[in-house]
Symmetry: C2
Subunit: 318 residues, 2 copies
């Protein structure tokens, strides 16, 4: 049972990404697994086809707050962040399961509204809740697994020097909304609403796959962090051109009110579930996609040619 | 946002099964869903085939205890209870995802041993961990989703009057082990070990499907409770013949020590993940299956012709 030098280390010291990487080394290869842990979703073969699957574990107080968001909004967001993982593979989600933990004194009406929120968000892509589990717990827990179809799963590993970097969806809105809520504000509405219910660009994922995207991921932890995963997984350098970003009005408003550079929200804000992808420079970008940078030989992520030093993305266990 | 009369009711008052039934009414039908919530696993169609999926949410202190079980055992049991759901449909599990919540001060070695436990159990059926998520939480949370192949999914709804009732695997062992541990005992070993790591009869599910089982479920909450679900879903009456049960030695030992009727453990003990199924009286029972009762017209579950009044199965939120 001895695990050597790791015996004394805690998971807080190792961090979320370190722990995932360490645990992944315990998992062998298998004929069913076309693509295992390490991307937005896994690609699994069945006896008659394949499917995509991704899972997220959301805990009250850490991923959502009942005093900030309604049950309906919490259900929608929990669905959205999972549907986004399938979107980020270029797939279309078809089925969701929900593990629901809650205190015994939670009103039934709260659980019903949450379920309706899941259904409303799933309807955007034609997915459905197919199963679940409920149990008592001190805090509300939402364990969501999304499954879907993929014709050509787009991984994080395929970016090539010379490729164009582009994004689809929103950047910075939810992050600005979170910053505003954290300071006790309830506006600007567009930003605060985006934190409560993100609007992933569900059409953009399959469209990018169809247009030959060489790599893709969703922006859950912040553009710099998530695009950094593509750079690392693909073994390339990526430079972003800050002049390509159009700052949304509500992000500018939060920026002014809090004295935070608007670009910081665009580059490091999480929870908007935008998509970022790379395309051959010869490819026409599909509609809804905006060019924001270039891939080159090397490694690391730069903004306007310089290393970006800003607040880090989400770090769990911190 | 008003949910009418339910507005004032809590999920503790409604109970686990009541809540699941209520939430299921919020979920519409969908072309992807061949079989939705309400059975051991859902059956989902993809663009090129189908798969089975089931999910469980396990919380420290409620479903497992670190002072009773090692990390390796907890991983094995969490895997087993999900693989059993696929087994109970007559399927073969191929892929698992794990949502893992844990306090920051948890040793990395604990997470590694748990992951190894998952891998060991998955190896029994050839399944593999394909993805996961980790987050910080006060208590350890394990949200497990199992997916698998099914040639002919066996539901709970197909039992017919005249059918034979049979089981495969163990009954009462884990329940007796739980009772012993609860009183501070660490023996008998077979029972205590069965509570820590169940041994679902993984070959028996596909074999029963192949032999034409008319209905099937796994025994997670106790034989009376789970077979009651088959009786209700199929709209039939089921009678069990208590003389057909052979009491394992360790169950008899716990029975003697605690002054609890041994049959109580066999009929109400959960967590062994045995299978119970119905077969046409003309069918030969597959190997590993033992006849224990009969299906007839009517409703409800009886033992030796009388309603069984005993301790209830697991009731969450209580």
């Amino acid at each position: 049972m001895d695990s050597g030098a790791e015996g004394g280390q805690t998971i807080g010291e190792l961090g979320e990404f370190g722990l995932i990487a360490r645990l992944a080394t315990e998992i062998g290869d298998n004929r069913h697994v076309l693509l295992g842990p390490g991307d937005d979703a896994a690609h699994v073969s069945t006896n008659d086809g394949t499917f995509l699957v991704s899972t997220d574990l959301l805990v009250e107080g850490r991923h959502f707050r009942r005093d900030w968001s309604s049950a309906h909004d919490i259900g929608r967001k929990a669905a959205a962040c999972n549907l986004s993982d399938i979107n980020a593979m270029g797939g279309v989600a078809t089925a969701l399961t929900i593990g629901f933990g809650a205190p015994a004194d939670l009103p039934v009406s709260w659980a019903i509204e949450m379920t309706r929120g899941f259904e409303v968000e799933c309807a955007h892509v034609g997915a459905h809740i197919v199963g679940g589990d409920v149990t008592a717990s001190d805090k509300i827990i939402l364990a969501v697994t999304a499954m879907g179809d993929a014709v050509r799963p787009v991984r994080r590993t395929g970016a090539l020097p010379g490729d164009v970097v582009a994004f689809a969806g929103h950047l910075g809105l939810a992050g600005a909304g979170f910053a505003a809520l954290s300071r006790g504000f309830r506006s600007p509405k567009a930003a605060v609403d985006a934190h409560r219910v993100p609007h992933p660009p569900y059409a953009a994922g399959p469209r990018a796959a169809g247009a030959g995207a060489t790599s893709m991921t969703d922006v859950s932890d912040g553009l710099v962090a998530d695009l950094g995963h593509i750079a690392e997984a693909s073994g390339v350098a990526i430079n972003l051109d800050s002049s390509a970003f159009v700052v949304p009005e509500s992000v500018a408003a939060v920026s002014d009110a809090l004295g935070v550079d608007a670009l910081t929200f665009m580059l490091t804000g999480g929870d908007d579930y935008a998509l970022v992808a790379t395309f051959s420079s010869q490819a026409d970008l599909p509609s809804g996609w905006t060019r924001i940078g270039l891939v080159s030989e090397g490694d690391g992520l730069t903004v306007d040619g310089a290393a970006y030093i800003g607040p880090a993305g989400h770090q769990h266990f911190r």
